[in-house]
């Protein structure tokens, strides 16, 4: 039988978070979302629905956009995790974050980190997103304040700012 975890049931998982090495100890089924927020104090990642519908907890694992509420700690062994805190360069916001500010693409702010992660992911994947690409790229993220138009406009502006052709 594989000996993966300590006898008290807790696991020690090694991974990188925002480029820094992390040794995380917790129950193997602990949600990555909770570990990020409570153990690493990375509270930029939000909890919305807790069931993979709203995208507020979006992070990247090995470059792929995922809902951190649906990822158990044991599955981030050896993985590279990037959270919203890893998107800005220190105090310097990314052009995508700037675009959200400029267009007013945030109100209460709970969905914003996830929206930004989805937008970053979109611009990484699609070299020249059209309207449909943007809508699809944001489809997994719910916002209850803005009505989405200003968020959509933020991504359009981010395309211009980052030189992504549309």
């Amino acid at each position: 039988m594989p000996e993966a975890f300590e006898t008290d049931g807790k696991a020690t998982v090694r991974c990188t978070v925002n480029g820094r090495e992390a040794k995380l100890t917790g129950f193997p089924m602990a949600r990555l979302l909770d570990v990020l927020r409570e153990e690493l104090r990375l509270t930029g990642t939000k909890e919305g629905c807790g069931e993979g519908e709203c995208g507020a907890c979006s992070v990247f694992i090995n470059g792929k956009l995922v809902n951190s509420c649906l990822v158990p700690l044991a599955q981030v062994e050896d993985a590279s995790v990037v959270t919203i805190e890893g998107v800005a360069n220190g105090e310097q916001l990314s052009s995508i974050q700037e675009a959200f500010i400029e267009t007013g693409g945030a109100q209460c702010g709970i969905c914003t980190p996830g929206m930004v992660m989805a937008a970053v992911n979109l611009l990484e994947r699609v070299s020249a997103p059209d309207e449909n690409d943007i809508r699809k790229g944001l489809a997994g993220n719910l916002c209850r304040c803005t009505g989405y138009i200003k968020i959509f406009e933020a991504v359009v502006r981010a395309c211009e700012a980052t030189g992504v052709k549309r």
Binding site: P2, P72, A74, Q75, A139
Partner: protein
């Protein structure tokens, strides 16, 4: 109420061999855990009854899409994102790509797997109707060896499967004879992304001149399992598409499906939309 985390185990076997040994050493005790998009939802809701899991997410032996002249074979861990972006699948099995693109949204599609979707055994899953129309087979692996079973008939009732306690779904094998078939797929949900199906409809037809030579129709969310509507399909053989054909097929479909009222939709709505989709499929053949 949230789950009590210390009650759950999630082991990480290093190899497929090790995973299969775990399955056979204590039959029924251990269950595989792939992308977690279904299981973690249950966990958070405090409804994940099973306690002992092992992760298969990292097992390369269960990943990848392979092609031979006869088959396209999907590793059980093939994600919805991988399904959508595969050129062969786009060309020959567009319904599967479509189903994958309509399941959840990007973050779910990056974690949800075809094997997990099958093992979760939901009658509302979006890929199974397409897989049945394509005549897919499942490769089940255990320490005893590998066996291949038709996917059709694999689900025997709500969340019930014909699989032994020591077996794991390792691959989904799809025969490559769908190319000449006209294919039609529709998912009806509350919105385009993230919705669970009210109805899912997959169909294909091989045409001979002005007539349907053979048709296949399979539906999700209209019975306790995905339904292969063989009787409706068989009355279409040898017919052209006119009002009589549409009426005859719709009358047969009424008998083959058993939609219910639930939180997503009503039996009436599901029945009416099912009949409409059947008609739309037949008209799309342009006979």
């Amino acid at each position: 109420m949230r789950a009590y985390l210390p009650a759950y185990e999630l082991k990480r076997p290093a190899t497929l061999e090790e995973a299969l040994r775990l399955l056979s050493s204590e039959p029924g005790q251990w269950k595989p855990f792939a992308g977690g998009t279904d299981l973690m939802v249950l966990l958070e809701a405090g409804k994940l009854e099973h306690r002992k899991f092992f992760s298969i997410w990292h097992l390369a032996e269960l990943s990848g899409i392979e092609e031979t002249p006869e088959h396209v074979t999907l590793g059980a861990l093939t994600t919805y994102t991988e399904l959508q972006s595969n050129a062969t699948l786009q060309r020959e099995f567009p319904m599967l790509c479509e189903a994958a693109s309509l399941t959840g949204a990007i973050a779910i599609q990056n974690r949800g797997t075809i094997g997990g979707n099958i093992a979760n055994a939901s009658p509302a899953a979006d890929s199974p109707p397409a897989l049945i129309v394509y005549g897919a087979e499942l490769e089940l692996i255990s320490e005893r060896g590998v066996r291949v079973v038709p996917y059709e008939g694999f689900h025997t009732g709500y969340k019930q499967m014909q699989m032994q306690a020591d077996e794991l779904i390792s691959r989904v094998r799809i025969p490559r004879h769908a190319k000449q078939w006209k294919q039609y797929y529709r998912k009806v949900g509350t919105r385009k992304a993230q919705a669970i199906s009210k109805i899912c409809f997959a169909a294909a037809a091989r045409l001979e001149g002005e007539r349907i030579e053979e048709a296949r129709i399979c539906m999700g969310s209209v019975a306790p399992t995905v339904v292969n509507c063989t009787k409706t399909a068989s009355i279409l053989s040898g017919r052209g598409v006119d009002d009589d054909t549409i009426k005859a097929a719709q009358d047969e479909l009424r008998k083959e499906i058993a939609p219910i009222d639930d939180l997503r939709s009503t039996a009436d709505y599901r029945l009416q939309v099912s009949l409409n989709l059947l008609k739309d499929f037949l008209l799309s053949l342009e006979l």
